[in-house]
Symmetry: C2
Subunit: 454 residues, 2 copies
């Protein structure tokens, strides 16, 4: 019966200390989502493969975790099925998979409930997703996504509000950040304007790597992908668009004056900026960056990317507008815009910069220690009274040496301990020990409660 | 590309309205868990099958959702493997499964972290579990469990605290309830005392059905299972143990005086009751019921079961003490006691008795409606100010007829709407509409905020 247990590869336990920190992040983000009128949604962990397959490209299909059909799944498979290879075989023995992201299940939900949903529909969703990726540092097979999306409107107020939500979350978490904004239409316009119309996908992929590989290598890659010398020469001025955001807008307008789609992209961003001004929001942390591309091909309008300053780490938040979320489910024409906070990376930022708050409400605040059965019994009504005052509290349940009880408080990071011995039984004055400072006080129970609630 | 999407069988979406109600239940339970010193834990959704298999009996093994190995899983399987049947085949193509409950992953976690954990370790865990059961009304393939357990102590204070947690949760949710308590040792003692020593498992299974099938059928079943006529005759007085809990204790002591284990069971319950008294807790909702057995065979001490009054529904909460949680992972001797709240059933109880609170903080409280672009722009700084005051608020993002905007507020159950037209632009006095009463007021924005926060 006995076996040494282990975690499945690429998965993690979150013990109390990590949970408290993670919940701090989730709660902060949730509060902002709610303040902006987003409502919670949860979808099932498993979806029919017909919902998931074909939505994330061939690589995505491979990275889906598939669930074996229950019951006698092998009854109907034969040597012929085996010979046809595992991809075909999968379709015969598996009908369900674990969700790969929150966007496709959201689209499914919207399509299935479109007659009842108030439109525009603003939802947030915080749930784990699963990917059969090769695990490595910082990449897990199970991780949480933390998304907010509005669908059913193309108002650019939504983009402005996403910017504000990012600002509020980052400010609440005390993260210094830089928010880069671009618009996919500007990338399209750019490829038009430089004489490489229709090649915006290749342009986006190459330009996305600018930060990592530099201008020269980007140019090389584009040349390899068949961009003409003339196109590359036309592209060069783009890399030197600098200055304030408004200056960039002016230069960009000049550069893209021959491209309708490009002009539309600028117009959208300008309107978004105007909304931000109307809201009274400054753009000091915000940078128009026309080299920002982001990988996902389904974006069609604004794109966002947030990096933390003061720490070397990839983007911690990203998002954008997509015009055809529900098209693959037969419901075209629903435009949406969304944002996704990368909780694992935000966690690492807060950890590295020591930004987690010290006093977390969730942990136990008070432990009653005692010298024996009689003293323990004496603490029980006091323990109950503490809880009735909203103080998270415990009594050490066993008879044990005080040292062991204090050690328990220490390991659990309990800030206050009350020690009850025979003296205390007689006098009614209890010993309160402040575990942080080491100080001890002789106090009545009411004074103890007051001190803890300070 | 287009397909009509559907939910996987036995799974559910939780839209905003349901989410708000479910979170109300989770938050209530969580607050109580925390007040009693329990800390949060999350374990991965998927576990190695070596961790899960053999822990839930043969039926449980069948009900585990198994995950297909990624990559070319069929490479190494042959016709011979097919011929050997799906159970054997499963072991060749699947190494992981979805968790079936929270207890086994908890045991794995304790074993893997036993050197760092403060003992006793008090954790709560609220996560979904999956079972490949045939879906039916009220039975799902994915559902949340909501557990709290203490391991590493056999102090009966923990049992008393579990009773108090149940009381606090039910009182917070306004559910009238009945809590039945028994002790597995009493059931063992009973089988000893009636002359059927060692048959407590069969006795427990049969007696567990008393509520559903009645005394006569229970007796028939026991006879079929080989209980002698004498044993059955000796058992009869048990069904007429009535009166107050203290009266039951007295009668029970008489009945079980020949059984050491039975006396130990009574002693444990009495001690638990004494702790409750020391805490100052009444036992008015609590009933000693020696016919309570509960299915799970791993309980070894106290067992608990909660039913809601005023509504026909099964048990909504249950738990008990087990002496060997981590034994199957090679770490014997850790005693624990735990409780599990059945969130789906609690939801149904609150729904049926109309006990969900009306004013949920999560939904949007205020919507700004407007007659056009200029008016919309006018609302933006006001919207920002509302949010800065902690009011969850939105602006209707599109230009649309007021009727459509009010309809949106209605569908989203937003209680207050501010309507801005050209009059309002000029006077600065805004129209506030109370969507519940239908009343309208002309107010300054500050008065509006004050009214909403009332």
């Amino acid at each position: 019966m006995s076996s040494k247990p282990s975690l499945a590869r690429g998965t993690r336990d979150f013990g109390p200390e990590k949970m408290v920190k993670r919940n701090y992040i989730f709660d902060t983000i949730k509060a902002v989502f709610q303040r902006f009128g987003f409502q919670p949604l949860e979808t099932p962990s498993m979806e029919n493969l017909s919902v998931l397959m074909g939505k994330y490209g061939d690589e995505g299909d491979q990275l889906l975790f598939k669930i074996l059909n229950s019951g006698n799944f092998s009854e109907k498979i034969s040597q012929t099925d085996l010979d046809e290879g595992y991809k075909k075989l999968t379709t015969k023995i598996s009908e369900k998979g674990l969700r790969y992201d929150l966007t496709v299940p959201f689209a499914r939900y919207v399509v299935m409930n479109r007659n009842e949903l108030p439109l525009p529909f603003k939802r947030y969703q915080i749930q784990p997703v699963w990917r059969a990726d090769r695990p490595q540092k910082g990449r897990y097979r199970e991780f949480y996504q933390c998304d907010a999306d509005v669908v059913g409107t193309d108002s650019l107020i939504c983009e402005a509000e996403i910017v504000m939500m990012i600002q509020e979350v980052m400010q609440s978490l005390n993260i210094n950040f830089n928010l880069k904004i671009n618009n996919r239409k500007i990338l399209s316009g750019l490829s038009e304007a430089i004489g490489a119309a229709g090649q915006e996908a290749a342009l986006a992929v190459a330009i996305d790597k600018l930060d990592k590989i530099g201008q020269e290598k980007v140019m090389e890659e584009l040349a390899e992908r068949g961009f003409s010398e003339e196109a590359l020469a036309n592209l060069t001025p783009v890399f030197s668009i600098t200055g304030s955001n408004q200056e960039k807008f002016t230069k960009l307008e000049e550069l893209l004056q021959t491209s309708e789609v490009g002009k539309k992209g600028i117009e959208e961003l300008r309107e978004m900026w105007n909304y931000m001004t109307a809201f009274g929001v400054t753009d000091e942390n915000i940078e128009l960056d026309i080299t920002l591309a982001r990988g996902l091909s389904y974006y069609t309008g604004a794109i966002f990317e947030v990096k933390a300053l003061d720490v070397q780490i990839g983007s911690i938040t990203g998002g954008g507008r997509y015009d055809n979320l529900t098209g693959t489910f037969g419901v075209p024409g629903l435009s949406g815009v969304g944002i996704s906070f990368g909780v694992d990376r935000i966690y690492d930022v807060l950890e590295e910069l020591n930004l987690f708050p010290n006093n977390q409400a969730v942990t136990t605040k008070l432990l009653f220690c005692h010298f024996g059965k009689e003293e323990q019994n004496y603490t029980l009504p006091l323990l109950r009274a503490a809880r009735e005052r909203g103080i998270n509290a415990e009594v050490f349940p066993d008879n044990a040496k005080i040292k062991k009880q204090l050690d328990y408080a220490d390991r659990k990071k309990i800030p206050f301990v009350v020690i009850v011995g025979s003296d205390e039984l007689q006098s009614g004055l209890l010993t309160l020990k402040d575990m942080t400072s080491g100080e001890q006080f002789k106090l009545s129970i009411d004074d103890i409660f007051a001190k803890i609630n300070e």
